[in-house]
């Protein structure tokens, strides 16, 4: 009996200790994330235009209804899909490709790891500015120097709508492929070598070994990379903002930028809030699907 009571009091004590440790962080998160989220939802139900404050008031679902006939919204939604899918696919394919290559070189792996850290640690806004000036600028930019040397001519990489979209995708891919590379390289290093030995004795070719051994074993790591990279792509802002500002026109205006420009350039915070809510709903839906996918494959 006495031990039972002691165990109970120990448990109660432990519970109190746990709550003392975890409660401050949870309260802080509640105040800094959940409360603003509620206020965002509330704002999205209002007309709140700092340029025309006299029109402010409750609008119900008016902001959401407005999106249906807003071509700029649909444009941004399409661009978000293109931007997210193309950057994530490019990062995973290139990152995995370079990781597989690096494993084949006897020396210089460390050098490549150091080089891979560089883009990751830079501020995206600085990356956007670098590319806008030193890399993509017509005539003197590095890329223009290369295309001119190759006889492909000089291009207005950020001024032409189609090239601008390709350029911002390239910028994002440049900055974040090293992340996929480093994670996948680390995962490749954990694969058991004896499976490959057995496969070789079975005379499996390099492609077969990749297709039937490496890829399935790497799958969980790839899924995690895809999830994390999608989150980054969906909330990409500073690099595009610095390189093109969403332009020319709205050629590189992904939903995130559209929500920002509506809120803080056009000062239409009500509509901007509803755009942010849509972006959030998309983000949550995608992460939910990805997590389900990850769990079901375990």
């Amino acid at each position: 009996m006495a031990t039972g009571a002691a165990a109970r009091s120990f448990e109660a004590q432990e519970r109190r200790f746990a709550l003392t440790l975890v409660a401050p962080a949870l309260v802080l998160l509640l105040v800094t994330t959940t409360a603003p989220l509620v206020y965002l939802l509330w704002t999205s139900l209002h007309r709140l235009d700092l340029g025309m404050p006299w029109l402010s008031g409750f609008a119900g679902l008016g902001n959401y209804a407005k999106m249906g006939s807003d071509p700029r919204f649909w444009n941004s939604l399409g661009l978000t899909a293109i931007y997210t899918i193309s950057t994530v696919v490019a990062q995973v394919v290139l990152g995995l490709g370079v990781a597989l290559l690096v494993l084949q070189i006897p020396k210089g792996q460390g050098l490549l790891r150091v080089a891979a850290i560089l883009p990751i640690v830079l501020a995206p806004v600085v990356v956007g500015l670098f590319w806008r000036t030193l890399v993509l600028s017509p005539d003197v930019g590095l890329v223009d120097l290369v295309t001119r040397t190759l006889g492909l001519g000089s291009h207005n990489w950020l001024g032409d709508p189609q090239l601008a979209l390709i350029s911002v995708i390239a910028i994002h891919t440049w900055q974040w492929t090293p992340f996929a590379f480093l994670v996948l390289l680390a995962s490749l290093a954990t694969l058991p070598p004896d499976i490959y030995e057995a496969a070789r004795l079975d005379r499996a070719g390099a492609w077969q070994r990749f297709r039937h051994i490496t890829l399935p074993l790497l799958r969980p790591a790839i899924v995690v990379v895809v999830i994390l990279r999608m989150m980054t792509a969906l909330s990409a802002f500073a690099a595009i903002f610095a390189a093109t500002g969403g332009g020319p026109g709205s050629a590189t205006e992904i939903l995130n930028l559209y929500a920002y420009r509506t809120s803080f350039s056009e000062l239409n915070l009500g509509y901007g809030a509803s755009l942010a809510v849509v972006l959030m709903a998309i983000t949550l839906a995608i992460s939910y699907v990805m997590f389900r996918l990850r769990r079901s494959r375990r």
């Binding site: 800094t32 850290i117 375990r298």
Partner: protein, 282 residues
Amino acid sequence: MIVAKPHPIRAIAVPVLTGAALAIWAFPVLWALLTSFKTERDVLAYPPSLIFTPTLANYHDVLFGATSIVPNLWSSVIVAVGATFFTVVFAVPAAYALARLRYPAKRASGFYVLATQMLPPVGLIIPYYLVLQRVGGLDTYFGLILIDLTLTLPFAIWLMVSYFEDVPLEMEEAALLDRAGRFGALWHVILPQVRGGIAVTTIFVFLNTWNEFLFAVVIGGNRVRPVTVAMFNFMSVEQTQWARLAAGATLAMLPVILIGLFAQRHIVKGLTVGAVKGGGRR
């Protein structure tokens, strides 16, 4: 992995392609560094000059000139150090409870932390702007550090959870038997075990807050203006002064580049800890 007997095409292709990856990642950064030592005339020279007389004039300008970035560097230090301090102080205890202790609604609270990480920053900045504007919180360190916590705290908690999970249970039990008490065990036995994890968390949070732009450009102002915002403004004001831009950017990014180079192993570990572990725990 096992290296097959080198095929002649492979013997050439592998070094060429890895060399290309190396160049593509490193060259733009080195090019910016090189540019920062050029005169504006050398920057626009065609073909680009690799050999030129280096000058420190750009650095002198961005440090001591009319648009000195020193106040901005200082601003960034306050924001990044402040946000990092509060993140670690709140995240470490919470992560320990999530990893090791039993309490009601533990799963739900863990999931809650994960969910807060999914909120897009642009969705947070709108309510923060409206509220801070009303209470005079715009252009204050308090406001910017507070919103930066939304970026760092959920991530830091989960990163620390994975480190606490690696501490051997016996160690904790031994400490408890010594009547060290719950808190004593945590402070004297467990925390020293996760020093590496705290270092990784600190590095990541510092990098993220130093590089943060969206919150800083909206919440900041004349007083609180981190280097990321200063670089952006510089570009819109003095569009053609690339050498000075490069010098400013070099100084602005020097702390994170140094951290990146010296803490490279830590960073790779931080990047992979979730990914590899999540994969390994099948």
